[in-house]
């Protein structure tokens, strides 16, 4: 049974059809990659799934429930949480306080929330910086913080919007390991990613979006050989894993 069902979702901004009749499903425990050129509608799709935007048509169902009309915090409280492509730390709060915001809603009391937050900071390798302020973080740490805060909400589904962007290969490698271990805990993950190395390493299945439409779907190895995908996104000469 599918945990997340996206049915014919469309959304336009003025004359621009950002997302056009997109349908797909995500099974519980799956790790799904979402790729496509800039402006293909990937982030818009995330906005719709996470409740930040209403679709013009279509619906999103999560765990059997229609999410249309629910606000982002409702959706988060039901177990589906997103991160932001442009990182958004709470700049005047410490890292611990940043993560606490995610943990407070599900914890019975503050002490439990602090424990959850400390666990998550340890998992994401930020424990030593718990007292640092949000505005003082480097980009890799900001990416980790996005992930840590989302994890603190205790999600079943994690929507990751380009968590690898701007990282060097070493940092990318570390983050791939981290995401894999999070997935190993049974969390379903849908990730938007441009770093093909990460997409290929992590995804069990890949969706390709172009001009708001789904143009391919399938196993990573099959999708990168797909002529439409090569034409729209990867370009001639893409040869799999070495990018």
């Amino acid at each position: 049974m599918s945990l997340l069902v996206v049915e014919g979702v469309s959304r336009s901004f003025g004359g621009l059809q950002a997302v056009n009749g997109v349908s797909f499903t995500v099974a519980e425990g799956e790790m799904l990659g979402l790729i496509g050129p800039n402006g293909a509608g990937k982030t818009t799709l995330f906005h719709i799934i996470s409740g930040f935007l209403r679709p013009d048509a279509g619906r999103v169902r999560y765990s059997g429930e229609d999410l249309t009309g629910l606000r982002p915090h409702d959706i988060c409280q039901r177990g589906m949480v997103r991160t932001f492509q442009v990182t958004r730390p709470f700049s005047r709060l410490s890292l611990l306080e940043n993560v606490l915001v995610g943990a407070l809603e599900r914890a019975a009391h503050r002490r439990e929330a602090v424990r959850i937050a400390e666990d998550v900071l340890a998992l994401t390798g930020l424990a030593e910086k718990a007292g640092h302020m949000g505005h003082s973080l480097t980009l890799p740490d900001r990416k980790r913080l996005e992930l840590a805060r989302a994890l603190a909400t205790g999600p079943r589904v994690l929507l990751l919007d380009e968590v690898m962007a701007g990282l060097n290969p070493t940092e990318t490698g570390r983050l791939i390991d981290l995401i894999r271990s999070i997935h190993g805990r049974g969390i379903t993950i849908l990730l938007i990613e441009h770093v093909m190395k990460a997409v290929m390493a992590l995804s069990q299945r890949i969706l390709v979006l172009n001009y708001g439409e789904l143009i391919a779907e399938g196993a990573p190895e099959a999708v990168v050989e797909h002529p439409k995908v090569i034409e729209a996104y990867l370009g001639e000469g893409y040869s799999g894993l070495d990018v």
């Binding site: 991160t83 306080e97 915001v101």
Partner: protein
Amino acid sequence: MILRVLAGAGVIVVLLALPYWVSAVWQNLLITTFYYAYLAQAWNVLGGYAGQLSLGHAAFFSIGAYTSAILAIHLGISPWLGMFVGAFLAVLLSLGIGYLGFRFGLRGFYFVLLTVASAEICRLIALHVPILGGYTGLFINFTPNPRQFQFQGKIPYYFVSLGFVAAASLVVWLIQRSKLGAYLLAIRDDEDASEALGVDTFRYKMLAYAVSAALTAFGGTFYAYYQFYLQPNTVLNLNHSVDIMIRAIVGGTGTILGPILGSLLLELLGEFSRTFFAGGVAGLNVAIYGVLLIVVVLFLPRGVYPAIVGLVRRVTGKQA
């Protein structure tokens, strides 16, 4: 720890003894300081913690002032009770403005304009509704009776205003320690990120607005029974909302001691410029006050209190 307790006890003793030592001028100055510290603290809940700038708090202030005065004048209800009716009405108005502003996603300047407009509407109502006194304003007869919130001499007002500041600061302290406080600071820093993490931003902003409005309305009642005269162009003037806000900003928004320090500093600056520059060139003291204000904001952009905390940390070598 012992040092802190001793310092706290010292501050309390000084505050309790202070009005008996100083002249009437300084008594008045201290009352005004507490009065503005209280209003700035009330504003701080919404503007400082939740980060929603209001330039219309004069509306809640005036609802508190007029409601308690009208109820006392026409129905003989003590302002001690009337102030709660005023606070209730102020909460209703805040929820109305909050609904319009927050439900329809007005942020930044647009929310500020909404609050300004709401206070302006209240001013026009107060100017044109006869029972509120209109242009002439509303006079309250002085009958020294503590049960009617009317006191002989300055000293009782000193303690009432001190109690107001202490109570508001306690409320803010409790908020800061609670889940609400953590959420408000998160909303201040990034509303969308808070919402994505499961925080019902609409609900918590409404709550902050209601608390802020209720506290502000109590301050209005204090004003009515300290001045015994309400004039719409004074109490509902935009300047009045600015006066409240500026103290929280100068002292440091989103902190408990900020509004208190801000109020004290501005009162002292005002007194200083009056003492040394009034009487010569007309308006010179106001200009000097303005210059001093600019200097303070320029050098301490985050406010006086955070600057002091930063300085202490640097001196003692402790990390944040």
